[in-house]
């Protein structure tokens, strides 16, 4: 914990405008309501800006930005279970793939419309998470991570081995034009809006959790689960609900992804690299915060895309180096770093290294 220097440079002279601004930045119990309202206001402005951005982009860029929104949603959903509650789920992509394949199967075999399929896929993902969470949420730390990873990998193998239902390794194709199609394809522009709305919902859920009693319960569980239980928090219920909610959001995004891709092969919707990317985005942005996943997702997704376009060979290498540097110099994530810096006036990155190294 860094010590807060209590001189006028940080607290400001009370009664002056500069002092009020500093108090606002720092956060006191009196201005909590105002801070939250400002937070929602900023979120709303960003959302409107994102809608407006669409008119400025060409089709291929629309697709790239849609992918960025997809990752924002995924990161915000992971943040619920991994960031607030501290249970890092390394099988999150399992819910993504489950939502995607449920949608594909319903649309192909039962000719259900996309919207209904997405709703059903969301519920399926949530129920599956509750089911799987019952034995697995008892595990902690790396063990929970590995167990959920195993579940995601097992799901992928099951999908590969049910070729009549899922097409197996040969993939499954959702009909998107002609009389076979239950819902016509939404178009790049349509998917832009869909992913944006899903991302907004995920971030909004994170925002609501952050300020509610439930959110405090989750943070309590993160810091010391036994103490939280002693305080009367029903930890099992809180964890399971959060896990299911996080899975539901991820499953809905998976459903949209399936429809966008139209042809699904089992490897990508269950790719462990998607989970790791989610974790990178949340941690670099600032886990356990509302804006963290958004900032992290935009930075990493856009950065990855930019690198891929401009350094055709070796882009992944540069990405690896950037991740290493970011993790060493800003392990608490950007949002936490910025709010600490605003509060204490300390900007040094080397301080981070000194704090966390052995």
């Amino acid at each position: 914990m860094t010590d807060v220097k209590t001189d006028e440079r940080t607290t400001g002279t009370p009664g002056t405008r500069a002092g009020a601004v500093r108090a606002l930045l720092r956060g006191t119990p009196e201005n909590a309501g105002l801070r939250q309202a400002i937070g929602w206001g900023i979120g709303l402005l960003v959302l409107i800006g994102a809608f407006g951005l669409q008119t400025q982009l060409y089709t291929g860029q629309v697709r790239t930005v849609s992918t960025v929104f997809m990752f924002v949603g995924l990161a915000a959903a992971w943040n619920l279970i991994g960031g607030y509650t501290g249970y890092a789920c390394f099988g999150q992509v399992g819910f993504f793939g489950l939502g995607a394949y449920s949608t594909a199967i319903l649309m192909v075999h039962a000719h259900v419309s996309f919207w209904l399929s997405m709703a059903v896929a969301t519920v399926i993902a949530a129920l599956f998470a509750a089911l799987v969470g019952w034995p697995l949420l008892r595990l902690k730390g790396h063990y929970f991570a590995v167990a959920t990873l195993g579940v995601a990998e097992a799901l992928r193998e099951v999908v590969i081995n049910l070729p009549k239902l899922t097409g197996g390794g040969a993939g499954i194709t959702i009909p998107t034009f002609g009389p076979d199609a239950p819902t016509p394809w939404l178009g790049n522009d349509g998917f832009y809006v869909l992913f944006l709305i899903l991302a907004a919902v995920a971030v909004a859920v994170g925002g609501v959790v952050a300020v509610s009693r439930g959110g405090y319960a989750l943070r309590g569980i993160h810091q010391d689960e036994d103490a939280a239980a002693a305080m009367g928090v029903n930890t099992t219920r809180a964890k399971t609900l959060t896990f299911a909610g996080s899975a539901a959001l991820t499953g809905a995004i998976g459903a949209a992804y399936a429809f966008q891709q139209t042809t699904l092969f089992p490897v990508r919707p269950f790719d462990v690299n998607i989970t790791v990317l989610m974790v990178v985005m949340v941690v670099l942005g600032g886990s356990g915060t509302v804006a963290g996943p958004v900032i992290g997702a935009v930075a990493v997704a856009y950065g990855q895309e930019w690198l891929r376009q401009h350094i055709t060979t070796g882009h992944a290498l540069v990405l690896g180096a950037v991740i290493i540097l970011a993790v060493v110099f800003m392990p608490q994530g950007f949002v936490n770093y910025a709010s600490d810096a605003a509060r204490t006036g300390r900007l040094s990155l080397l301080d981070n290294v000194r704090r966390y190294r052995l």
């Binding site: 309501g33 939250q36 309202a37 929602w40 206001g41 709303l44 959302l47 409107i48 809608f51 407006g52 669409q54 008119t55 400025q56 982009l57 060409y58 089709t59 291929g60 860029q61 629309v62 697709r63 790239t64 992918t67 590969i160 097409g167 197996g168 390794g169 040969a170 993939g171 194709t173 002609g178 790049n188 522009d189 832009y192 809006v193 891709q261 139209t262 042809t263 092969f265 990508r268 790719d271 891929r308 376009q309 055709t312 060979t313 882009h315 992944a316």
Partner: protein, 411 residues
């Protein structure tokens, strides 16, 4: 107070959203890929990821095409000479990235696309091509399923998947004395390999061979011991592997370890690649492989000459290395687009598309002619056998380099 603020915010957002969701700017202007005397082609290739090796071979084929065509002055299109310029992007071997890259090419006005490596990525790209009104010359996606979807803007220069195993079975039937009677299949479980296996099983049954086993292994497996252990008691004369390189090497290696000794191995995709013989050493001797092209393939064209000329050009450009079919099929795809642009007299994608559909030309790669769904069914596949550590064409006999050795497996 918080709830009311929240509700008001949501309403405001919805109102504004309804107004501003009026769509993107659309295409960045199409058909402008001639700019400054250049014919720009887009290629989304797997430069990293699980298909990096094969993507690299495909890229070499495209590069050779660009160098040779430009060295001869460029493609004559409507009275002007245009230099080829191929822009590469890395799809990291992932189908969804491939689709996204094709969209991005479309943005920049690049409508003529060279295909990626592999049936999965090609299928994803083909869907986008169809939507955007682009045209794709498919170099390395052979799965018949791609062409059963009603797409009209993707044209595959390579022979379709159903030929891969069937051609080897025909070769064995024609040339192996005494003729074998039992055959077993080991197949990877991706779409392309499954299509190959199904067609192979049908061909074998039609020719009167008994199929004693059809085992599937996970795609990319380096341990196929369970499949081989199940096949061993059935003592097949021939083992056919519808696989890629990793599984292909594993089959031969582990068969030797487990004491599974058929009279001959025949595999798709793997044997013609140089890594196969290098990884297996002496154990690779006698393995058959199906190939899209050898340096004895009949046919020639004005850009690359005959197959032998192509092999010589390749060796000169790549330090004496031998060309293999992954390189050749890539060059052929690039050639098809160049020929079509020349015939159409324009780079407009619709005119090029029609010219491709009507194309009927001989080339170093064999005949280039597409049926009404875009597959090149006039071109036949060849069969090679590893002899002396190198792949040697053995079938069809009129373009063979040596006799097929049977039994082929090292005892």
């Amino acid at each position: 107070m918080r709830t009311r603020t929240l509700a008001g915010a949501v309403v405001a957002a919805l109102v504004l959203a309804g107004g501003s969701a009026c769509g993107s700017k659309g295409d960045a202007g199409g058909g402008s890929d001639t700019g400054n005397g250049k014919l720009i082609l887009g290629a989304s290739l797997s430069l990293t990821g699980s298909l990096a090796k094969e993507g690299a071979l495909t890229k070499e084929g495209y590069q050779l095409c660009q160098d040779v065509v430009n060295g001869k002055g460029g493609v004559p299109v409507g009275g002007k000479k245009l230099n080829l310029e191929i822009q590469y992007q890395d799809d990291t071997s992932k189908p969804d990235t491939a689709g996204q890259l094709v969209d991005q090419f479309n943005d920049k006005g690049i409508k003529l696309i060279l295909g990626p490596y592999g049936s999965a990525t090609t299928e994803a790209a083909a869907a986008v091509i169809e939507r955007n009104g682009q045209v794709m010359a498919d170099a390395a996606g052979a799965d018949d399923k791609i062409f059963q979807k009603g797409y009209r803007r993707t044209f595959a220069v390579l022979s379709p998947a159903n030929q891969y195993a069937a051609s080897m079975i025909q070769a064995i039937y024609d040339l192996a004395q005494p003729r074998p009677t039992t055959i077993a299949f080991v197949s990877a479980d991706d779409g392309f390999s499954k299509t190959v296996t199904k067609a192979g099983v049908k061909k074998a049954t039609d020719m009167g061979l008994t199929v004693v086993g059809e085992e599937y292994v996970p795609n990319g497996a380096t341990d196929v011991s369970s499949a081989l252990t199940k096949i061993k008691p059935k003592n097949p004369d021939v083992i056919i592997g519808s696989v890629h390189l990793a599984e292909g090497v594993a089959i031969v290696k582990q068969a030797k370890e487990l004491g599974v000794v058929p009279k001959i191995f025949a595999e798709t995709v793997a044997p013609p690649t140089p890594d196969f013989a290098q990884s297996l050493g002496a154990a690779a001797e006698g393995v058959l492989g199906s190939t899209q092209w050898t340096d004895k393939t009949a046919g020639s064209d004005k850009w690359f000459g005959s197959a032998k000329d192509y092999a010589a050009t390749f060796a000169k450009m790549f330090n004496g290395r031998e060309a293999e079919y992954h390189n050749a099929e890539a060059t052929a795809a690039c050639l098809a687009l160049a020929l079509a642009a020349e015939k159409a007299g324009s780079t407009d994608p619709n005119k090029v598309r029609d010219a491709l559909a009507a194309l009927d030309e001989q080339s170093f790669f064999g005949p280039l002619k597409f049926n009404d769904v875009g597959q090149n069914v006039t071109k036949k596949m060849g069969v090679i056998q590893i002899q002396g550590g190198k792949p040697v064409p053995v079938w069809p006999t009129d373009s063979a380099g040596a006799q097929m050795k049977y039994p082929g497996a090292a005892a």
